[in-house]
């Protein structure tokens, strides 16, 4: 350890410990403090599928410029127990500053080669009033190193612990002060050195995570109904909307199972709500029959599918982009759909808002495909200006002669809802006539199939093109979709080559008609995705007929790191 962080204006801090040890409290405090101090801030977490114990970690990046991706590098490592050192061992380098309770971490047979900056957390916290104060000791130390206003810290502690009584607040402040002392010592003696610049712009920004971005976008899109069964890593969207329900007229119902969730959402949609479900692969699998109902009955619906590694229960708290083709082909029979996969928080907000409007406009299911990495990551972004996102109303009154499934040129039938207008409104799961009643007529069948499939063409007019970054004539085109975007982006920026461009798809299906154009000059198309079989690469081959030259895949349950992508690209770029 040389005491200098490798890039001291972009510092990564990793906090590790067992579930229940309170890393999340530290994380939340620090995120708030860093941001309020004007630092750019990014955080992500990885955790085991258990409530107590195990070994989890959170990465915080504190930087002079925006940071929005997971790095492997640990400039600071703060291990709350030994397991952390073992588990994150491969990420420790000579440049990693490890701060912790030396005695506890190294014990008798401690790894002497590890140079640990000691803060005797156990002893100190015991003195203050319990092991839990270790966390605040650390917060205190870090605020010193990052030169954070102590009043800000104390106020924050007051806000966080005020409800538990003045005594607790006092102890926390005491811990913070002691920690601060240690931190100052480290900073002033030059043992650790960071050089991150604060900026006033950041102060005015907001920090949200992927789940909130999806949830806020849903509210912006007019969502007023969510019915779902809890499932990691998708539950936070339900929780968020449940908590905002009263304020935003949202009915948020936890259902007996996912099947109920999806069928409730469709009933709600029929009755005029803007409805969504949020789930993960296994739960979504149970919704697939009802997805097909959405297809047949042409009911608007938004599905937030937060992916995790399968098959079956798989790794419940880990990340993967393994359900893309499943989402694409799920449901029996043939009917159109849209699949969005946000790669940034703003995209998550925008796509979520848009999803509700596209679902209404085309009366099709719209997917938001995220993953554990995405929903659990946060960083600062400018305040979103809600007035920029308008909702359209696509519901009409059912007047005399109204036909729910009228055959139209673009396949979209005028949609009414029960009680709005004098005429009745039918939703039906069979093949039906234009009114919605069961029809076994073979010519009608053809008309209705064609009508529904025409929507797939119609909705291309609203297709979101991929985002291309980099030189027009770059020979290398690196393609990614969804959550990997900002990781790949940072990696490519780091490479600093002028023959590499990035192509990021946030609408992954259907492909905009001009998709091929984006590939024109590319001699070496490399697709990066977080799964084992290269699902998006398959889609590129199948739909716009793109020749993919190389794949970069990862499927150990973790997201790519910036460094990994750099390394892989270094090998694969031409």
């Amino acid at each position: 350890m040389n005491g200098n962080t490798t890039k001291n204006d972009d510092v990564s801090i990793v906090l590790g410990g067992a579930a229940g040890q309170g890393i999340q409290t530290v994380e939340q405090l620090l995120v708030h403090l860093f941001k309020a101090s004007g630092y750019h801030l990014y955080a992500t977490k990885e955790y085991m599928s258990r409530v107590r114990g195990g070994s989890n970690s959170t990465e915080l990046r504190v930087s002079s410029k925006p940071v929005r991706a997971f790095v492997n590098r640990m400039d600071f490592l703060i291990p709350l127990d030994k397991d952390v050192l073992k588990r994150l061992n491969s990420r420790i380098t000579d440049d990693t500053v490890i701060i912790g309770d030396k005695k506890k971490l190294l014990g008798k047979n401690g790894d002497e080669s590890l140079d640990i900056i000691d803060i005797p957390l156990s002893d100190l916290s015991k003195e203050i009033g319990g092991a839990i104060y270790s966390n605040i000791l650390i917060v205190g130390a870090l605020t010193a190193i990052f030169n954070i206003d102590q009043e800000l810290l104390h106020n924050q502690l007051q806000a966080s612990f005020g409800a538990k009584g003045e005594d607790i607040v006092a102890k926390n402040i005491k811990a913070a002060k002691i920690g601060y002392g240690y931190g100052q010592e480290l900073a002033s003696t030059g043992k650790v050195k960071v050089n991150v610049t604060k900026g006033q712009k950041v102060e005015k920004q907001i920090v949200i995570d992927g789940s909130h971005a999806v949830g806020l976008g849903a509210i912006a899109g007019g969502c007023n109904f969510i019915a779902t069964y809890p499932m990691s890593p998708s539950t936070a969207v339900l929780t968020f909307l449940a908590q905002q329900g009263e304020r935003f007229n949202i009915i948020a119902e936890q259902t007996e199972d996912e099947i109920a969730g999806m069928n409730m959402a469709l009933g709600a949609s029929y009755a005029g709500a803007r409805a969504m479900v949020t789930t993960s692969g296994g739960g979504y699998a149970l919704m697939v029959e009802a997805l097909s109902l959405a297809g047949a009955a042409e009911l608007p619906l938004v599905v937030h599918l937060a992916q995790r590694p399968g098959p079956a229960t798989g790794l419940p708290t880990r990340s993967e982009q393994g359900d893309l083709l499943f989402a694409l082909y799920s449901g029996h029979g043939e009917f159109p759909r849209i699949i969005y996969a946000p790669g940034s928080l703003l995209d998550a907000f925008e796509l979520s808002q848009k999803a509700f409007n596209m679902a209404e406009k085309y009366q099709v299911p719209v997917f938001l495909l995220t993953d554990q990495y995405f929903v659990d990551s946060y960083y600062n972004i400018p305040k979103i200006d809600v007035s920029k996102y308008k909702n359209e109303n696509y519901i009409i009154k059912a007047e005399k002669g109204y036909k729910r499934y009228e055959v139209t040129e673009n396949g979209v039938s005028p949609r009414s809802i029960p009680g709005y207008g004098p005429e009745v409104v039918i939703a039906d799961s069979h093949e039906h006539d234009e009114e919605g009643h069961i029809s076994e007529d073979h010519d009608n069948r053809i008309r209705m199939v064609d009508k529904r499939l025409r929507k797939q063409g119609a909705l291309l007019t609203d297709a979101i093109p991929p985002l291309r970054e980099g030189p027009d004539n770059a020979a290398n085109l690196v393609v990614c979709w969804g959550s990997t975007y900002q990781i790949v982006q940072e990696a490519i920026n780091n490479l600093g080559r002028d023959d590499v461009a990035l192509l990021y798809f946030r609408q992954v299906y259907p492909f905009p008609s001009n998709t091929l154009d984006y590939f024109r000059n590319a001699k070496n198309v490399i697709v990066i995705e977080n799964n084992a079989t290269g699902q998006f690469a398959q889609m590129l081959h199948l739909f716009p007929h793109i020749e993919v030259h190389q794949n970069i895949l990862k499927y150990n349950g973790l997201p790519f790191s910036v460094e990994e992508v750099e390394k892989e690209l270094n090998q694969k770029l031409k």
């Binding site: 806020l216 009915i251 009755a271």
Partner: protein, 286 residues
């Protein structure tokens, strides 16, 4: 109101001549007319099966969804628009078999909707397999040696879950059925009505005669408000009691428990967006 209001032109009803479903349709339309339900304020929700074709034969709003999944859709419709009268009308296989989980959990929800379950003790549409209510020994092409499972007792289960309105009707007795249907629809809360409905094609055991011979009507001396007594009635089988078996008038409905309706009864789709609030929420993130 005249029940002709619910009639549809040119319908070709897919039921077998003599099927108990015709009786249910008649009684249902009559009762709806008596109550005065406007077609455009009423939704019939069903799953899939012979019974579940009902919404195609009664002119009201209709949500004919998936096999077994009528209840979640119905409860959601009611929650989103409490001004609608929501009636679920589906088969025994649909509601107790495929839809069993929704049956028990929507009882727990207690939306103010009514469920009529056509109990013909058989799967009609799929040609005669056992349903959850098929009696022991009932032989079918699949249950070749006869049913070996305990028949599902919907009334007992409903009472065990404290469903606020539980009744059993026999469509062979249209007057009584009508009276029960009416009470059920008018009841404020989730009403479950198990309706004996002879399937003249696939159930040659539980016929009109059989239902007549194996049932009796609860008389005025029976008060349905005691849950233990109701349970005793519910497990009587020989003969099977007909009537309103259990009633609990003290339960709050699902809709009324939802926070969105606490201060404001406007149906959801009529409400204005709260964009300023949203901006405030976003700005509050720090």
């Amino acid at each position: 109101m005249d029940k002709q209001i619910y009639n549809m032109e040119n319908i070709d009803i897919a039921w077998c001549p003599g099927c108990g479903n015709f009786g249910i349709r008649n009684v249902l339309m009559q009762v709806m007319a008596d109550i005065g339900l406007e077609p455009n304020k009423t939704v019939i929700v069903s799953g899939i099966g012979q019974a579940a074709k009902m919404p195609h034969y009664v002119r009201t709003h209709a949500f004919n969804g998936l096999h077994g999944r009528a209840l979640p859709a119905a409860v959601a419709i009611k929650a989103v628009n409490p001004e609608l009268t929501v009636i679920v009308d589906s088969g025994d296989g649909d509601m107790y078999g495929e839809g069993g989980n929704h049956f028990i959990h929507n009882i727990r929800r207690n939306a103010n909707i009514t469920a009529f379950i056509h109990n013909n003790m058989v799967y009609g549409l799929t040609k005669g397999q056992a349903s959850p209510t098929s009696q022991r020994g009932f032989q079918t092409p699949v249950q070749v040696n006869g049913v070996i499972l305990e028949p599902f007792n919907p009334v007992a289960v409903a009472i065990a879950l404290d469903t606020p309105f539980v009744a059993r009707a026999n469509i062979g007795d249209r007057d009584q059925a009508g009276s029960i249907f009416k009470q059920a629809i008018e009841f404020n809360g989730f009403s479950v009505v198990d309706v004996f409905q002879p399937c003249v094609t696939y159930n040659k055991v539980n016929t009109y005669d059989w239902f007549k011979e194996n049932t009796y009507s609860l008389d005025d001396s029976y008060y349905p408000s005691n849950r233990n007594k109701a349970f005793q009635k519910a497990i009587e089988t020989d003969p099977l009691p007909l009537g309103v078996i259990y009633k609990n008038e003290n339960k709050k409905t699902f809709e009324n428990s939802l926070s969105v309706y606490e201060h404001d009864k406007t149906v959801l789709y009529e409400r204005a967006e709260r964009r300023a609030e949203l901006q405030a929420l976003i700005d509050s993130y720090q």
